[in-house]
Amino acid sequence: MVVTTGWYLALGAALFSMGAVGLLVRRNPLVMFMCVELMLNAVNLTFVSLGAELGDLGGQLSVFFVLVVAAAEVVVGLAVIVAIMRRRSGATVDDLSVLGG
């Protein structure tokens, strides 16, 4: 059995869907955060696969940008989550709707 590019794309799509569904159904901020990471990496996988298939370095280059953005996002996001958890432990994102305008 040859693992073609199609398999990688399918895996990427499956991971992205799992992340998206997880983001929508879970209320724990930490888990939702992991779901976002899952979606980002699913996109990364798709970039790499298509880059290899088309022989274009641009795909792999985009991954670097995504990784940098994701790292920055993790730094800020985790800091926010830790701050919230200190103040109100066990809070869900629905409890945080008070932050809405």
């Binding site: 983001l23 929508l24 994102v93 629905d94 945080l96 809405g100 305008g101």
Partner: protein
């Protein structure tokens, strides 16, 4: 020397700045001497410029000294600059000269007042604004001074603001003047619209060249007249001037007799080419308005009991003469009378201040009488002022008034007759004032009508009236001398003795009317005027000194009540006027504000609806993003041409 003209307004401004910040520390009398000193410096600077200008030829006697650009705005460019020409220098000479004398007088008059330094700060600020008014090289700079003198007038009328009446008088002056200011502003807009410039030199040269349509010139001239009527207290905007007497007497002398109130006449004289370009009825209107006001105010002055009110209505009346002169095309006569009036009316006001000072603040002439025994210098100088205003030769008032009456005759004998009648009344009411104040028996210690306290008269008897200090009498003497000799600057005997006319020539653009009246007629007219003045004096002497004729026919209640106009205006403003203001207020509250609030309310309600989508649930947002992404994808796919 001409380049130093900026010193003339700069010195009073510097005095004001020092006094407003450090006046209290300088205290009395230092603050007064400082203010007087800067005015003296200002006068000397003006004198220097005058000597320079007088030595030049006629064509060379106009200079514009620009300091810096003030407002650069598109086509409009306004400089801080001074128009130095015979008219502005003449104005400056008597403004700074009389101003310095009145400053000196105030050192004595304001002695012991809590606001001593504040008074001199305002006085210096006034002088700065007044000098900007006459020296400014554009209508806008003149307007700056125009508003400045208005503000200072307000500050000084209500100087003793703890009395509600004084504060009200200040407000009345300010509000009435606003009507005139409106006219000035419209004239200014129309001028800029027509000439594309507000500079006097541009406007007047273009107007003299005859490039202005008659309708436009008429509009500008009429609007300037509205401004002048407000500032120079002509009918029907004269109402504020008699009330302005609530201020300290030096203020009445300086602002409400000698300088500020003449600025309307100055403005009309300055803009004489525009009046020449406008429709023929404009000068007629100015002349009739002037002579009407002169006669009207003179009748009121006949029956006043407050010494300052008599002089106030007399000022309104004399300003009417100046308007008559402007309307008759006798600009030289208008400026001439402005100068002589500045001297003798300042003298009379300062003399009345001296009397009030000696009578411990009492202004009612019925309480005076026989003051010649107590105040010799005041009496002597006052008599000179009286002879000058009554038109007795060779005092200055005779020459200037005669000049105006001759030109009035030239325009219309009716104007002349009304002017003559005013002159007779003037001689009458001034003689009445002199008789009640200085002649006869002293009445200060008499029991007064309506006085409950029987002891009050006895207490007053211990307080004999006293002559004023030197600082007050010295200016009186100087002004008295000027009131005698000022007439000699323009003697009607031959062309070569009309010095003022030759001097002013460059400012008048040959718009001065040429007299068609023969020499013999002129002498006859002058003789009639002198006889008229003497008749006025004689009747007043018979009534008030000899007591041969009853007073009542002359002191009609309607004169004392100022023809009920003031009261009618007050009643109108309190009744229908007030309802009108309230209606506009309602219109403003409900229609204008309603529109603004309505738009704001609509936006707020719309925002309330949109707010429901912003509920703070992160997962709702995520769903939104997801659905949005799917929708976009679907759109691209369906449109795809692949």
């Amino acid at each position: 020397m001409v380049d130093l003209i900026w010193l003339v307004p700069a010195l009073p401004l510097a005095g004001f700045i020092v006094l407003i910040f450090a006046g209290r520390r300088i205290g009395e009398p230092g603050a007064g001497w400082l203010a007087t000193g800067v005015m003296g410096g200002s006068f000397l600077a003006t004198l220097g410029v005058f000597i320079d200008m007088a030595g030049r030829s006629t064509h060379d006697r106009r200079a514009v000294v620009t300091l810096f650009e003030w407002i650069p705005a598109g086509d409009l460019s306004v400089d801080i600059g001074f128009l130095v020409d015979p008219l502005s220098i003449t104005m400056c000479l008597f403004i700074t000269g009389v101003g310095a004398l009145i400053h000196l007088y105030s050192v004595g008059y304001m002695h012991g007042d809590d606001g001593f330094a504040r008074f001199f700060a305002y006085l210096n600020l006034f002088m700065f604004a007044m000098l900007m008014l006459v020296l400014g090289d554009s209508l806008l700079l003149t307007f700056l001074g125009w508003e400045g003198v208005g503000a200072c007038s307000y500050l000084l009328i209500s100087f003793w603001f703890t009395e509600p009446a004084n504060a009200t008088a200040g407000k009345k002056a300010f509000v009435t003047n606003r009507i005139g200011d409106w006219g000035f502003m419209v004239a200014m807009f129309a001028t800029f619209f027509t000439f594309g410039s507000l500079n006097y030199v541009d406007v007047l040269d273009a107007s003299t060249a005859g490039t202005v349509a008659q309708g436009t010139a008429t509009l500008i001239a009429v609007m300037l007249l509205v401004g002048a009527v407000g500032k120079s207290a002509q009918f029907p905007l004269y109402l504020w001037l008699p009330d302005a007497m609530a201020g300290p007497t030096p203020v009445s002398a300086l602002i409400h007799a000698a300088t500020m109130v003449t600025s309307g006449v100055y403005l009309l004289t300055r803009m004489n080419p525009l009046i020449a370009d406008s429709a023929g009825w404009v000068p007629d209107m100015v002349a009739w308005l002037g002579v009407g006001t002169a006669l009207f105010a003179a009748t009121i002055a006949m029956a006043q009991t407050d010494i300052k009110k008599v002089l106030a209505y007399s000022t309104v009346s004399q300003l009417g003469y100046m308007f008559l002169a402007v309307g008759s095309g006798a600009y030289v006569a208008a400026v001439f009378h402005m100068v002589t009036h500045a001297f003798f009316k300042a003298l009379l006001f300062l003399g009345s201040g001296s009397v009030i000072h000696g009578m411990d603040g009492d202004q009612d002439m019925r309480h005076y009488g026989g003051l010649r025994r107590f105040m010799p210098v005041t009496t002597g100088t006052f008599v000179v002022g009286w002879l000058a205003i009554a038109g007795v030769p060779p005092f200055s008032g005779f020459w200037s008034k005669d000049e105006i009456l001759t030109f009035a005759w030239n325009k219309s004998p009716v104007l002349w007759a009304l002017g003559l009648l005013t002159a007779v009344l003037t001689a009458f009411y001034m003689t009445r004032l002199i008789a009640l104040t200085f002649a006869g028996e002293s009445r200060y210690a008499e029991q007064r009508t309506g006085e409950e306290d029987a002891e009050a008269a006895t207490r007053r008897a211990d307080h004999t009236p006293h002559e004023s200090p030197r600082t007050m009498t010295a200016p009186l003497v100087v002004l008295a001398v000027l009131a005698v000799v000022a007439g000699f600057v323009q003697l009607p005997f031959s062309s070569s003795t009309r010095w003022l006319e030759h001097w002013l020539e460059p400012s008048l653009y040959a718009n001065e009317v040429h007299l068609g009246t023969g020499g013999a007629t002129q002498v006859l007219l002058a003789a009639i005027a002198v006889v008229g003045g003497l008749v006025g004096i004689g009747v007043a002497v018979a009534v008030y000194v000899k007591g041969r004729i009853a007073r009542e026919p002359f002191e009609q209640p309607i004169f004392a009540d100022a023809w009920r106009i003031d009261r009618s205006v007050a009643a109108f403003m309190g009744g229908p006027g007030r309802r009108g203001f309230e209606a506009t207020n309602r219109f403003d509250g409900q229609v204008v504000d309603g529109a603004v609030y309505g738009v704001a309310g609509l936006v707020r309600r719309l925002a309330g609806v949109l707010r429901m989508f912003h509920n703070g649930m992160v997962r709702t947002y995520a769903t939104g993003i997801g659905l949005g992404a799917v929708a976009l994808l679907a759109w691209f796919l369906t449109r795809s041409t692949l």
